[in-house]
């Protein structure tokens, strides 16, 4: 098991190098020049000498292979460089935004799990009943409804309902504060986006849970367990659910990794200063170092999430052994 984990972690290296090469090339294929953007941001014309100085300052006058090797070497030393746009360390830019993105991702995941697994299980157990139809409708609605629309509508609903009840509109705070500074303020900021994202997340997970449970419930060992007279609750919780969770865990892992940097529109709706918004800004500003670091971070999170999922498999299914 340890060797398996070490091997998987080591596999991160070629994955990250490959991702680094792709993002490095793609960024440099995008037309535009960050120095022209920086120096001529108000429409000012820019003199070539100033651009040349800027290129030298940012290291853009070096050969591409040197820039690439510098970037990759820096990444593995956890030195992500300086943001070409803001001049601040990339690590600082990301660190300012990662907590809120992580918090929303974790909260959305917890909400999704708390909703999806019980409802998906019940839906499978009560297949074709009215409960099953309701749950499936809720799931389809969750998949079909864009998160950003749901976010906008939920905000408007909160404003309108509070206005109707209290005579003045109310909305959650829009400035982020770390949890340890003011837990109530922090949770107020995060709850609506987490619910919005969590609903869609739970819908997908709900359907996977139902589908997996239906398959497992038809297995011979379940029939045997029932024949032996085991209580249904025990059959579901101890025998069926654990096996049904294998594909569900995969899905949860992938979705969680996606949430870290993929909530661009949701972040816009709720004015969340998160990693998704930072990535869009970085691309718009042609900030190579920041974009590269963010993409690499996303790749690393995906790979690590997959590793955690694989390890969870071993816990869920003892038959799985890692060579």
């Amino acid at each position: 098991m340890h060797r398996y984990v070490v091997n998987r972690v080591l596999l991160l290296i070629p994955t990250l190098v490959g991702a680094a090469a792709v993002v490095f090339v793609l960024m440099r294929l995008i037309p535009g020049d960050i120095c022209v953007l920086r120096l001529g941001s108000g429409g000012m014309s820019v003199n070539p000498r100033a651009i040349a100085l800027c290129h030298a300052e940012l290291g853009l006058d070096r050969p591409l292979i040197v820039q690439f090797l510098d970037f990759v070497w820096g990444f593995f030393r956890l030195d992500f460089g300086i943001s070409m746009w803001s001049g601040k360390p990339v690590a600082e830019e990301i660190a300012a935004r990662l907590p809120i993105s992580l918090e929303i991702a974790v909260m959305a995941t917890v909400i999704a799990i708390l909703i999806a697994i019980p409802l998906g299980t019940i839906s499978a157990l009560k297949q074709n009943s009215w409960i099953d139809h309701v749950v499936r409708t809720v799931a389809i609605a969750g998949i079909a409804t864009p998160s950003f629309w749901l976010g906008i509508v939920s905000l408007l609903a909160v404003l309108s309902i509070s206005h109707a009840i209290f005579g003045a509109p109310w909305m959650p705070p829009i400035d982020y504060v770390p949890f340890w500074q003011d837990p109530l303020h922090n949770l107020s900021v995060a709850i609506l986006p987490a619910l919005t994202v969590g609903y869609r997340y739970s819908a997908v997970t709900m359907r996977m849970t139902r589908s997996a449970m239906l398959e497992v419930l038809r297995e011979d060992y379940i029939r045997t367990a029932r024949a032996k007279g085991l209580v249904e609750r025990l059959i579901v919780n101890r025998h069926a659910l654990k096996n049904a969770l294998l594909p569900v865990v995969t899905l949860i892992g992938i979705e969680f990794a996606f949430l870290i940097g993929g909530l661009v529109v949701t972040e816009q709706v709720f004015n969340i200063n998160g990693v998704g918004r930072l990535l869009v800004l970085a691309i718009q500003n042609q900030d190579y170092t920041l974009t590269q670091a963010l993409v690499m971070l996303t790749v690393a999170i995906f790979v690590l999430a997959n590793l955690v999922v694989d390890l969870l498999y071993a816990w869920l299914d003892p038959r799985i052994r890692f060579a």
Partner: protein, 536 residues
Amino acid sequence: MIRKSGLAAAGLGAVFCVATVAAPAAAETPKRGGILTYMIPADAPPSFDGHRETTFATVHAAAPFYSVLIRVNPNNPSSTTDFVCDLCTEMPTPTDDGKTYTFKIRQGVKFHDGTPLTAYDVAASWRKIISPPEGVSSARQSYYAIVDKLETPDPATVVFRLKFATGAFLPALADPFTWIYKKAILDKDPHWYEKNIMGSGPFKLAGYEVGQSIKGVRNPDYYHPGQPYLDGFTGIFAPKQAVRVDAIRADRAAGEFRGLPPSARDQLQQELGDKVVMQSSDWNCGNVITPNHKKKPFDDVRVRRALTLAIDQWHGAPALAKIANVKTVGGIVFPGSPLAATKEELQTLAGYWPDIEKSRAEARRLLKEAGVEGLAFELLNRNIDQPYKFVATWLIDEWSKVGLRVTQRVVPTGPWYESMRSGNFDVVVEASCNSVVNPLLDVQKYLPHTVFTENYGNYEDQQLIDVYQKMLRETDGAKQRALMRDFEKRVLDTEAHEMVMTYWNRIIPLRSYVKGWKIGPSHYLNQDLANVWLDK
């Protein structure tokens, strides 16, 4: 509700813009205390260096931390000539035939680190603006090409010596981006202020969360007695309009200082009633339509004149004003300014004729004569709704009435600038946005690229340059105005180099407990918040 106030005239500076603002029945006594929270419609300022930047994001975030030498009177920001001292002791009378301005600097002013501010700091900051060292950007360097020398004969005196006398200098000196930095810091690192804040203004930096918010606390050593009234402020960055409107609705923020469109104004008024006060003003910003003179057939003045003659500004403006933040028809000078054309004068220019049918008939005739009837071309536009896309869509319809077939290419800001710089466009929707109303400098925008590098029309016009140079040096008001009419006629009519669209309309929502702040014709002005107080 919009409460109307009377407009006052003061000497040459007739207060012109329709600044509709609450006029209290009796003078209110400012209350001290409270934190003002407001929205900043941007992700984050590109840098904190006011000398380098041109964006309101930098001003709205950092102006409260800095002082300037002179400024537009914060209690009368709609005036074009009411300049008052900030760091100086009194407004100087120019000497040496109007070429020398000597400023005495206040004593006892301190930077936020406790060190004294002297004339040397003022001079160092202005030198950075006027002639920046290599590698340092100064966005308004061209405004001060008229400055010959800058001297500091003693720690309390700064002397500006100009190359020639001009009425453009004082308004240029009042530019809201000309913050005073500490000389010792500039000497060590002229880029320091790009990422750091340390001024002598009414507020001290209390915190900056990247892309989230910026906070300030009262500067107890501020040199204007009694100010600031606020204990502090929080500026929250929020590029999405819906977020800002909802925040004002829910009183998570007291307002914003850039401007909302009419629909948002109406929504807030309907929902909040007298809990919100709307101030509105003509805005020293407008869209300018620029044909690319290097691309056929826009090198033909007949085609350019046809484009402008096709547009019905007088009827279009009130219609557009209902859905876009535009309002007043004007020429190249901000409407109502002493140098601006009257309605009667405008109506003699192509594009402003009162009889639109006659105007369009002339447009069709010119197009036929030029051999480009039914011309199809592309209008390059910036990817911003208000009011760019509204104006462009309306223009395309206006042009269709003379048989022109126009498509719109909408691009983000970066590629928009890039296309203009590289000449990769037929006709472009530009914007001309200025801070202090300074017609003599504001109209530089229409000078050829060889003189004003931010002109992307790709034309040469020595006659225009000659008129401008004469106008810049003219000290007689009436003659200067006549020269401005000549200049304007050449830009908009004779050569039709550019087309000035309806001036923008600035609508500012503030919760009714916010007092002291008065709207001006620019979103860059009056943002140090020193005279703002909260009536709660």
